[in-house]
Chain length 263, copies 2
């Protein structure tokens, strides 16, 4: 098959550009954390406030260029000539480039990258997409207030059924032989899936503080919460979290509405 | 990084095992279509009715093995020693092995695989996950009847806003320079993203026949519907669709509830 988007030889020396909505950590935050852990250079529309560069990419007038498609939604990552979207996809790209996943190519190639991709997809399904839908179960184009009754129902199911099911699954992954030594999900080494789990847990802690406290206090998910602390203590991530580049949660994926939390 | 799941040298000669719920095409159907297009050998729990092999993988007692994690949900693909889940992940694995995506490794490696992964993720978000949520907007553990009022609201938004937005996006991808010659989404060649778009469109046609007819008749998405026909006419896929291996839609992701369709 013809290479549709040939990687430029110099791409490794080019900083990344993260295009995402300013004002919320949102889905862009996973990318920031991976870039910070990797010590990579990047620009960020959250800092520049350049919302137009996001809007241009997702505009109905954009049909892409010779090698890139148009984009449906941010986060979008520019790197040299490459412009890609879809969070799990961007994470996979960065994981390969910065040693945050097993290699897909070269002498030490393995299928481990598919395990990390699988874990990241499941974490994002359960602790990002489903968390978002607790305050927007009907339509993304409506306000929370316009779907509050449905949100109360969905959030109750999320707290009682979905959250324990997902945390139980991640605890099982961490208890498994394939997780290896140390606090990490797979292969005894930090991967981007660990960073994704940290950020998602941090978000659901913000959105459902009482529910998460209860789950943490149960002791049933002690490996999950240990991983959370281990990622938080990574020196570069710690420095980032204490910097003013780390934005506060507001009206993004993770929102605090007291009535949706455990009463 | 240590290869956590080393690919066996003989893996290419081993048939695949697809583990998925019998009785519905569901998320497993994308995998079947890719395997059929590739002419690959595979076993399928839909044929054997072996639901226990699915339940064992997602059991709360399963913690995986030395290289594989446990699994949250099917579809699950076994191939030699490798056991992976998450539909977009399985598709990427198969795409690499059967020339249905640009290569991630070797001499002709490019970033094109990230474009195909991005497209597949967006198609599945819009035309599979969101389509599912029209009949289950509150809780997967409840019946449709227990959330019918919320379903009516969500389905209306889906038909009026989300479906046209997604189809418009895919039309733009197909109109773009990077789509290349012919009916395909990217690079002028059939990839697994085209197969995913076919199957998703087929499903939403089943679930929302009147809404889809209206969108098709508008002429605004002619490239999208041409792609649908082009995939359907691929010789191996055509043969599969006419075989008894192709299951009917029932109570899976794509369900026909007349009240949720255009009136």
């Amino acid at each position: 098959m013809a290479p549709a988007a040939k990687r430029a030889k110099t791409a490794k020396d080019t900083p990344y550009d993260l295009l995402y909505w300013p004002g919320i950590p949102g889905r862009g935050e996973h990318i920031r954390l991976v870039l910070e852990e990797a010590g990579a250079s990047y620009t960020d529309t959250a800092s520049t406030g350049d919302v137009n560069s996001v809007l241009t990419q997702i505009s109905q007038k954009n049909t892409g260029d010779a090698s890139n498609t148009p984009h449906f939604a941010p986060p979008i990552l520019k790197h040299g000539n490459l412009i890609i979207s879809q969070l799990p996809n961007i994470l996979q790209y960065l994981g390969q480039r910065h040693g945050l996943a097993p290699r897909l190519d070269g002498e030490d190639a393995s299928d481990g990258a598919y395990v990390i991709n699988q874990l990241a997809l499941t974490i994002l399904d359960g602790l990002s997409n489903e968390a978002h839908d607790t305050h927007h179960p009907i339509a993304v184009g409506l306000t929370y207030e316009d779907q509050q009754r449905e949100s109360l129902r969905r959030a109750e199911d999320y707290r009682k059924n979905r959250l324990p099911k997902y945390l139980g699954y991640f605890e099982r992954v961490l208890a498994g032989e394939a997780s290896g030594d140390g606090p990490w999900l797979h292969g005894g080494q930090l991967t981007y899936a660990d960073i994704v789990l940290f950020q998602c847990l941090d978000g659901v802690k913000h959105a459902f503080p009482k529910a998460l406290k209860k789950l943490e206090d149960s002791g049933d998910y002690s490996k999950v919460f240990k991983l959370y602390e281990a990622v938080k203590e990574r020196p570069k991530i710690k420095e980032y979290l204490e910097s003013d580049r780390r934005q506060s949660y507001s009206l993004g994926i993770y929102r605090y509405y007291g009535e949706l939390d455990e009463q």
